[in-house]
Structure formats: C-alpha cells, structure tokens
C-alpha cells in the first residue's frame, strides 16, 4: 500500500472534519471495506500492511462490541479462563479449574442433599403407609380349635378302661359346642 501524504492518514496531517473526502480516501475506504468483508467471511488475506491489520482489528472489535457477533462457547470459555489464569498470577494450568467443572462442584452438594432428602422422605412414607402387622386377636378361641381331649377326663380309672362309649359322648358334645359357637360367630357359614 502506498505511503504518500494523501494515503498515509495515520501519520499525516489531520484533515478538516468538514472537508470533502478525496478520491484517494474514497478508494482507500472501499479497499478497506472489502478487506473487512473478507475477514468477516473468514477469508482474511494472508498479507496486509501493519496499518491495515491494526485498523482491521479495531473494526472487528467494534463490530463484536455492537452485539452483532457472538463468540463460540468454547472460545468464550477459553478467553475467560485465560483472563482468570492471568488474574491468579500466572499460576500453572493445573490449579485453574475449568468453568464447567467449577459449576459441577458448586451444584454437586446440592444435588446430593436433594437426593438424600427425597430418599429419606420416601423411607418415612413407606414406614407410615406399610400395612399394620396382624393382630393377636386373629387367633381362634380355644373352644373352637381341634385339640387333645385329656382335659375333659383326667386319668382313666382301671375299672372304666373299657368305658369308651361314655367318653366319646363327652368328646362329641364338647366339640359340637365349639363347632356351633364358631358357626354362629361366622354367621352360619361353614
């Protein structure tokens, strides 16, 4: 790029603000606009003058600051981490925690606390809602049960050893009482 007085607007005299732009200035502006467009399209020319590169950087920053450009998330994180690394006095990379891991560390205790609370609440609910153990009243009265008949007689005397007929009458009568009681208690259903 030529560096004559007309074109060297960085080092030359400052023109009057109300003065009409010269043809050279217009041409330079068009050339620079094309350069900016190429850069934004990702086709930055490999070679340019130092002045143009400085102007191009300024233009890029101004465009980004206007909110029209958004950096990719990875780039953004990288920029922030670089800034943090510098802020902590240039400590080694191992001491700087990446933002994503830092977020996880911040949320993990809360997540564990919430899960534990939920599990405890579920356990308490189970304890309260579980079916009650079967009651002792579920057992039958003795008179309704099939059982040894010894208590009806006591020891059988020798002279009554063959008196089974009388004893079967007693056994039958006793068990019939229990059977009838049970039937009546159940509403007559067998």
């Amino acid at each position: 790029m030529p560096t004559d007085d007309d074109n060297d607007f960085l080092t030359g005299t400052v023109p009057d603000p109300d003065a009409e732009p010269t043809a050279a200035e217009r041409a330079h502006a068009r050339t620079f606009a094309e350069l900016v467009d190429k850069t934004l399209a990702g086709r930055t020319p490999p070679a340019m003058s130092a002045d143009d590169r400085a102007l191009l950087e300024v233009a890029t920053v101004i465009r980004a600051a206007s909110g029209k450009v958004e950096l990719p998330a990875s780039t953004r994180r990288s920029v922030v981490e670089d800034a943090l690394r510098q802020a902590v006095g240039g400590a080694g990379a191992s001491t700087v925690i990446p933002i994503s891991r830092g977020r996880a560390r911040r949320w993990a205790p809360w997540a564990i606390a919430a899960t534990t609370t939920l599990v405890a609440a579920a356990a308490v609910l189970l304890l309260l809602l579980r079916p009650a153990p079967r009651q002792a009243t579920a057992s039958l009265p003795t008179a309704w049960t099939s059982r040894p008949t010894d208590s009806l007689f006591g020891p059988i005397e020798r002279d009554r050893a063959g008196d089974a007929s009388t004893r079967i009458d007693t056994i039958f009568a006793d068990r019939l009482d229990g059977y009838r009681d049970r039937q009546l208690a159940r509403g007559g259903t067998p």
């Binding site: 579920a122 039958l140 040894p148 010894d150 007689f153 006591g154 059988i156 079967i168 056994i171 068990r175």
Partner: protein, 182 residues
Amino acid sequence: MKYPLILLVMLITACSCNSPSEPPPTTRTAEPADAIDQNLMIALSKAKNFHHKAKVYMSDGNIADAIASVREILSLQFPPGAPEGEDVRNDARALLAKLLLGQGKPESIDEAMRVVQEGIAQSQRKSFFVANLYTVEGEIHEARAATLPAEQAKDEKHKAIEAYDTSNQIDTELQKQLMESK
C-alpha cells in the same frame, strides 16, 4: 466421579433398607386345619354311633359283632393331625382289647396285645388314653400269667407291673401339666 459414586451408594443403601421382607406376625393365626370343622364332627359322630352300636351288641351278648363295630372306629378318617382322632382311636383300641380279652381264647389274648401295642406305637404324644392302653396291656399280661404255670407266669406278672407303672407315670405327668396350665 466421586459424587456420583457416593450418590449411587446412598441410593443402594436406601433401597436395601426399605426392601427387607415383612417381619413375622406377632401371633400365629389359626389355620383352617386347626379349627373344629365339619370333617372332624362327622368323624366323631360316626365313632359315637359305632360305640353305641357295639354297646347294643354287647347288651345282647353278641361280642363278635360288638368287636366288628369297634374295629370300624379304627378305620375312620379324621382330619390329618387332629388330636381328637388319636384319642378316639386309642380309646377304641382299649375297648377292643378288653372285648378280645373277654373271649378268653389264647389267640384273642394275643390279638388284644397286638391291638394295644400298635396303639402305643402309633401315638404321637402322651395322653390319658395312652396311659389307659398301658393299663389294658397290664390286664392282658395278668390274663396271660393266669394261663401259665407259676414259674413262667412270673415274667408276665412282672410285665404287668411295668405296664401299670408306666400308666401311672403318664397320668401323673399329664395331671401335673394340666394343673400348671390352669
């Protein structure tokens, strides 16, 4: 990695704390088989009728039919495990043995002994009816002793005493248990 692992352990622990099976019931509920049911009453009713039938035969001096009627009781079907069934059968055996003994024939005396000893062997528990069987066994030994010469009768008499002692022992034990349970 550390936090998910702790979380996993806590979840597993929580689940395992809540999953054990229900504790056993505080009181065992009565199963239908424990209750007096229709089958037991039918068996008892039949036994009662066979006994009365035998009594009628005996009153007529018809010992053979009385014996046959009492034998029917031994083949009655009681509910499995019903204590009444064992008691009724043992009582029928005692009567049957006495009827056989009353016939006075040596083969009847042997059969009487077999009836009694089978009853004792098949009994699942000690009862006044088992004690009664030992009493009848003693009577059978006495009856045998009466048919033997004095020297040979000693053994039978000794067995008779043993049988009576066993009967008394069972009665004493059961009576004590009954007194304690009251």
